[in-house]
């Protein structure tokens, strides 16, 4: 099993929401949460503007698929073998939910919050809602990297689900078999802003100076980790730690999308330099937002 990952080139994203609709179509998710740039409660991926009022740069928000996932650790519902309803699946590389086990009604705390959401360090990606068209039961729902439908031919064989398309060439698939079937969000992207490859290949790709993400001072302008990475050639990135439930122009969530030498010098120490793991401080930021009203 090769752990696959998604890289989003932030410079190319234009928030057409093609990935969002492709995800919903492939997984039969509803469209019923009406609102300007609101995010449906069951939405697995969303695109958020990192500046004011839809002015970009646009960053993709979805589950990072942490290997030691806090949401899975917090999941109180376990089967007879002690396996939680929410767990990192070593076969698919995704943090996935067992729909037969998950029972939001049972784990909801007295404030109406769910342990998986509360404990997500990266934006509350597990969603609770009525996920599937024709299925009225309330379930936890989240990105599963199109498990069973994306990856190599072997990965999708026997899953019983229709394999997804790819844009990779035959040569690229030969070099990296996991590209034979891409997640719906990646293959639909008209800007070709997303890349689907093995985690190792993506790490090598972003660190290769020829590809422009590594600056002359040695900074690799990449954030993310596990199975979700973001990179930019022109905008210094700060880790996304947003709550996708909150509309960005009501309360901008990230203030770190800064450019210019001074800003870079100031912000750099807070960023992961040369490495690929970024730890967000969501709670601290939320407190700061409470003071500033989120305006940056």
């Amino acid at each position: 099993m090769t752990v696959m990952a998604i890289l989003q080139d932030v410079d190319k994203c234009m928030r057409c929401n093609g990935c969002v609709v492709a995800c919903k179509r492939e997984w039969n998710l509803r469209a019923e949460t009406i609102g300007v740039h609101n995010v449906a409660y069951d939405q697995r991926v969303t695109i958020k503007s990192q500046k004011r009022v839809d002015m970009g740069p646009f960053i993709r928000f979805s589950c990072w698929h942490c290997t030691d996932a806090p949401c899975a650790r917090a999941c109180p519902i376990k089967d007879a073998n002690g396996k939680a309803a929410l767990s990192w699946n070593s076969t698919t590389g995704a943090v996935a939910v067992d729909p037969n086990l998950c029972d939001p009604a049972a784990c909801k705390d007295r404030f109406g919050q769910y342990p998986c959401q509360v404990n997500c360090q990266r934006g509350g990606y597990p969603k609770i809602g009525k996920p599937y068209i024709g299925d009225e039961s309330v379930l936890m729902n989240k990105c599963i990297l199109c498990a069973g439908r994306a990856g190599s031919d072997a990965d999708v064989a026997g899953s019983g689900l229709p394999p997804l398309q790819t844009r990779a060439t035959a040569a690229e698939i030969a070099a990296s078999p996991g590209r034979a079937h891409e997640p719906a969000c990646v293959s639909t992207c008209p800007a070709k802003a997303m890349m689907w490859d093995s985690r190792a290949n993506i790490v090598a790709y972003v660190q290769d100076p020829a590809n422009g993400y590594k600056f002359t001072d040695g900074t690799v302008n990449v954030i993310g980790g596990d199975s979700m990475f973001w990179a930019s050639r022109k905008t210094l990135l700060a880790p996304p730690k947003a709550d996708p439930f909150i509309e960005d122009h009501v309360a901008p969530m990230v203030g770190g999308m800064l450019t210019g030498a001074l800003a870079k010098a100031v912000v750099l120490p807070t960023l992961v330099v040369g490495g690929l793991m970024a730890i967000s401080s969501r709670r601290a930021k939320n407190e700061a937002d409470a003071v500033t009203g989120g305006e940056v």
């Binding site: 234009m14 057409c16 949460t33 609102g35 300007v36 970009g56 040569a171 020829a210 122009h249």
Partner: protein, 1013 residues
């Protein structure tokens, strides 16, 4: 598009002006991203670039998401594009220097024999060396209406009439060359003047001009050899600028002039006809290029041919191809006995009524006759010289000399009314050269592309079969079935409905009750109709519009695009087949079936009886009924059988993209009918193809010697229906992918190849022969007022002039327009916040009275469109689109996913105006224009429903980072009162003043005010 989508990747400077590809053409941005890769940077696909990263410049009143990605964003006032472009041209002329200037001058002066003007004898021989690239050296006549014309003798004494004169150099002192006229025309557009008009800075105009000078043909050289122009787009030193434009350019009363200004700039800088260059119109629907190809306009038939008029021969003579009468047959050295009958001039009278002098050119009475001149009364008679075989041997110059040398004739001339003593004789010579010819024999047999295509189309449309050996008389009879007049333009049509001139309307796949401007006039028109027929997937606003008592409204259920098959022609002119993914659901039907059923109903009602009558006089009269002959049999459908299973044909089926070989399959239903339609269009015009632009889109597999690109044999066509070809290989790394689909014309991926187009690393003669296919064999900076057929050169076609003229309120063309109407000049929108500029620059007109671009009833010019002034309406309203919704909205506003993402219309406002008018973000506001509030004195204009209002989105932060600038309101127009998402119609507000040449409305600029609801 002159180029195509993939070719944008070859560009080193992408200028987006009046378009928003990121939101409105999202798939296109991948090609821009390809161009923007820095050297060595790899795309995920593994491609690398060796050229510098392309600069992306966005010039737009609104900071779109495209602008967010740009290297430079320049905000201009809505409707000031020409002022910006002319400012750039002026700046370039005054500032280009060094090696770039040398290359640029060479470009403008270049001439060669290969693309010289060809003799009019149909041999194709080049006789006069002509300009290679542009008409910069041509001389403009004193009236500024046309080039100065002359008679020339080419090699072999072949005579070419009406050849434009051209000067020794593009900027020859004291001569009115096109370039000198253009330079004088743009001289008033200093950066200061243009910046004032546009509301930008002088530096911004200079920045874009400098970027173009750095990224044009003149800069496309290696450092060591500055005069060797590199034409290989894969070379690291290759430079080209492309323009991407869309409705921001066209939706103005001077939309055609806007586009012309881009063409002028690109021709002048040599970017036309080069990889990564050109001007690229981003089409709003995947097949809108196909719809215009098919003549879905009120003044055209398929193939951009004008609506037929006059006799068959006269009409064909005006089409692109070989001239069937006129100069070709007046070649005085013509020695083909077979065509002698075309040479006889029988008493051709020249002169206007009341003129005492006429000159008659007589046909020779006998073989071997000398040129002779005589005088009878007030007429000068000329007998032309012939050789022993009765072929004419007089030259026009000899005739002129003979007339002027004959004293009686000369006396007559000197005593005549033509004081300058030249007019009569010149007219006679012109008659000799221009000739008169009645037979048009070539019209029935010629192989000129557009001509042969029209002939086949006539046979096919009205005879049902172009394999029948139709006689010339048959063709004339079938031609008589063509409607001979223009229809009504789309805006005036609604006025005619309201006036009772138009009583019934079929609306097929359109939603004018959302998309047309000044909706109260549209509603009044729809309401007054006796019969309204709508064909759509959903009950749209048009089908649901209010109707008068005792009227009928029909809604036919069309299926979606994935439920039907056929070719679609994209912006880059590439035909691609779309298979029927699923059969039509429910009771819905494909457009093809609906159309054939519609025709059947028309036939049953007797609407085709005139065709039956005409056919009865021909070699192939109707045996059964006319529907079977014209619609049923040709497409394999027997009336009464199931459409989805009845029609059948064997054809290509390519299941996957990539280099897969084609398989053959039995196609049925819509696949079979569409395949037959495609073959009818795409077969070579020299056999039976009815659509000249698509000639060879259906052809035998394999590569032929004459295919394009010539010399490209790496991939071979393996299908006959080339729109189904899905081979992904590239030709010489030029991003042209010539075996993916089929591009008109004859698979050219870049039109107007100026001879620079790279082919296997070298510029070869065959590339040059590609040439400009225009009538001048070169690009035209100057637009003449001459209409109709241009009468020199072997490759004929009609010249479509731009007919507009700037005028101010006094009815005068302001003196700032040095060559008014012939080169693009700035004019103000019909509703403008800068009335002061109307005095000095005017508004555009059709050439008639001031503001004659407002719509009226066809029976007389009385407009009912109210106009507002800046005093009452201080803000400029400009319409915008969003990524989530599509055009008039029936499809996306009925799709839950799209509605979820963008459920309601809004307006965009900047923070300063918001404060001025007391609006905060999220407020519900009312937008008021003269159309929604001000009823005219006559009361003919109805007060429109202002709707439910719009949600205000107010910008924050610095002005440059806000969507719209001060004084501008942006408004999306996709909404109406049907579907899952409803909202106020922006087109209640918009003005229906429309472009002088195309009648596209001025959606992009009108005046409004904003009120909190």
């Amino acid at each position: 598009m002159t180029n195509n989508w993939t070719d944008i990747g070859n560009s080193t400077c992408v200028i987006v002006m009046g378009a928003n590809p990121v939101e409105n053409h999202p798939a296109s941005i991948a090609h821009v991203n390809r161009a923007r890769m820095a050297p060595g940077h790899k795309l995920p696909g593994g491609q690398t670039s060796n050229k510098p990263a392309a600069k992306l410049i966005v010039i737009d009143p609104r900071k779109t998401r495209t602008a967010l990605q740009a290297d430079q964003y320049i905000r201009i006032r809505p409707g000031t594009d020409i002022a910006f472009i002319n400012g750039m041209i002026n700046y370039i002329i005054n500032n280009i220097s060094g090696a770039k200037k040398t290359n640029w001058e060479t470009w403008l002066n270049y001439s060669d024999a290969v693309r010289g003007l060809e003799a009019d004898d149909g041999t194709g021989a080049s006789n006069v060396t002509g300009s290679k690239y542009t008409d910069a050296r041509f001389v403009v006549n004193a009236a500024q209406t046309d080039y100065k014309r002359t008679v020339k003798f080419g090699s072999g004494s072949k005579l070419i009439s009406n050849v434009p004169e051209f000067a020794a150099s593009y900027n020859a002192a004291g001569i009115d060359t096109v370039f000198n006229k253009l330079a004088a025309h743009v001289a008033p557009y200093t950066t200061a003047v243009s910046a004032d008009i546009c509301g930008c800075t002088e530096q911004e105009i200079a920045d874009v001009a400098n970027a173009m000078m750095e990224n044009s043909r003149c800069a496309s050289y290696a450092s060591g050899s500055p005069t060797t122009i590199i034409s290989d787009p894969t070379n690291a030193n290759y430079r080209a600028t492309t323009f991407m434009y869309a409705m921001g350019q066209t939706q103005h009363t001077y939309g055609s002039q806007n586009v012309k200004s881009l063409a002028t700039l690109q021709l002048l800088t040599g970017n036309t006809g080069r990889a990564g260059g050109g001007i690229n119109a981003l089409r709003g629907i995947h097949n809108v290029q196909g719809s215009t190809d098919m003549g879905l306009l009120y003044h055209l038939i398929p193939g951009y041919s004008a609506n037929p008029s006059g006799s068959f021969g006269d009409y064909v003579n005006g089409l692109y191809g070989v001239r069937t009468s006129g100069a070709a047959y007046a070649n005085v050295n013509q020695d083909s006995a077979a065509s002698n009958s075309d040479l006889y001039f029988s008493s051709k009278a020249i002169g206007t009524a009341g003129n005492a002098i006429t000159v008659s050119l007589s046909n020779p009475a006998a073989a071997s006759q000398a040129l002779s001149v005589g005088v009878v009364g007030n007429a000068i008679t000329v007998n032309l010289a012939t050789d022993a075989g009765s072929a004419l041997i007089s030259t026009a110059a000899q005739v002129k000399t003979a007339i002027e040398g004959f004293s009686a004739a000369n006396a007559l001339i000197n005593a005549g009314v033509e004081g300058d003593g030249s007019g009569v004789v010149d007219a006679a010579v012109a008659a000799l050269v221009g000739g008169v010819n009645a037979t048009h024999a070539g019209a029935y047999t010629g192989t000129g592309l557009q001509q042969a295509g029209f002939r086949n189309m006539t046979k096919r449309f009205f005879g049902g079969d172009n394999s029948v050996a139709w006689t010339n008389a048959d063709v004339d009879a079938l031609y008589s079935c063509w409607p001979k007049t223009n229809g009504r333009d789309h805006i005036g049509m609604f006025r005619d409905m309201a006036a009772g001139v138009v009583k019934g309307t079929v609306v097929w796949g359109q939603n004018p009750a959302v998309t047309e401007p000044n909706q109260s006039a549209v509603r009044a028109g729809l309401e007054a109709l006796d019969v309204l027929v709508c064909v759509d997937m959903f009950e749209n606003e048009t089908a649901g519009s209010a109707r008068k008592a005792d009227s009928f409204t029909y809604l036919f259920p069309a299926c979606s695009h994935v439920e039907e098959a056929g070719s679609a022609t994209n912006s880059g002119r590439v035909l691609q087949w779309r298979y029927q993914a699923i059969k039509p659901q429910g009771d819905s039907k494909t457009d093809v079936e609906l159309l054939l059923r519609f025709a059947k109903a028309c036939d049953l009602a007797g609407a085709f009886s005139h065709i039956t009558t005409v056919l009865a006089t021909t070699s192939s009269p109707v045996a059964t009924n006319v529907w079977d002959k014209l619609y049923g049999t040709p497409y394999g459908w027997t009336w009464g059988t199931s459409f989805n299973t009845g029609p059948s044909v064997t054809g290509d089926y390519v299941s996957q993209p990539g280099n897969v070989e084609a398989t053959t399959a039995t196609l049925t239903g819509c696949e079979a009918v569409s395949e037959r339609v495609y073959r009818e269009m795409g077969t070579n015009v020299t056999t039976s193809g009815a659509m000249w632009l698509y000639t060879n889109a259906y052809a035998a597999p394999g590569n032929s010697a004459t295919q394009y690109p010539s010399g490209y044999t790496a991939e071979v066509w393996t299908v006959s229906n080339r729109s189904k070809s899905r081979k992904t290989s590239d030709a010489w790394g030029t991003l042209s992918f010539p075996r993916w689909g089929y591009a008109w014309l004859v698979n050219r991926r870049v039109l107007y190849n100026n001879g620079d187009i790279h082919q296997s690393g070298t510029t070869t003669a065959s590339d040059q022969a590609d040439g400009y296919q225009g009538p001048d064999q070169c690009g035209r900076l100057f637009v003449s007022t001459k209409t109709g057929t241009i009468d020199y050169g072997r490759n004929y076609r009609s010249i479509h002039r731009l007919a507009d003229m700037p005028k101010n309120a006094a009815g005068i063309t302001p003196s700032n327009h040095k060559t008014a109407g012939r080169f693009p000049g700035h004019t103000e929108p019909y509703e403008t916040p800068r009335e002061d500029l109307v005095v000095t620059w005017g508004k555009n007109t059709r050439g008639g009275v001031y503001q004659d671009l407002l719509p009226s009833v066809s029976t007389g010019y009385i407009t009912t469109t109210p106009l507002g002034t800046v005093a009452n309406y201080p803000l400029v309203l400009t319409t915008i689109r969003c990524v989530e919704h599509f055009q008039g909205g029936p499809i996306t506003r009925n799709n839950p996913y799209n509605v979820e993402l963008e459920p309601e219309p809004w307006i965009e406002l900047n923070s300063i105006d918001a404060r001025t008018f007391g609006i905060v973000d999220g407020d519900l506001v009312k937008i008021v224009t003269a159309r929604t509030e001000g009823a005219t004195a006559g009361g003919a204009h109805l007060l429109a429903n202002p709707g439910a209002g719009w949600r205000a989105r107010v910008g924050v932060g610095q002005m440059i980072n806000q969507r719209v600038g001060q004084g501008v309101v942006g408004i999306p127009w996709h909404w109406g009162d049907k579907g899952l998402s409803t909202g106020s119609r922006a087109n209640d507000l918009c003005i229906d003043a429309n472009d002088a040449n195309t009648t596209i409305p001025e959606y992009k600029a009108c005046l409004c005010r904003i009120e909190k609801m």
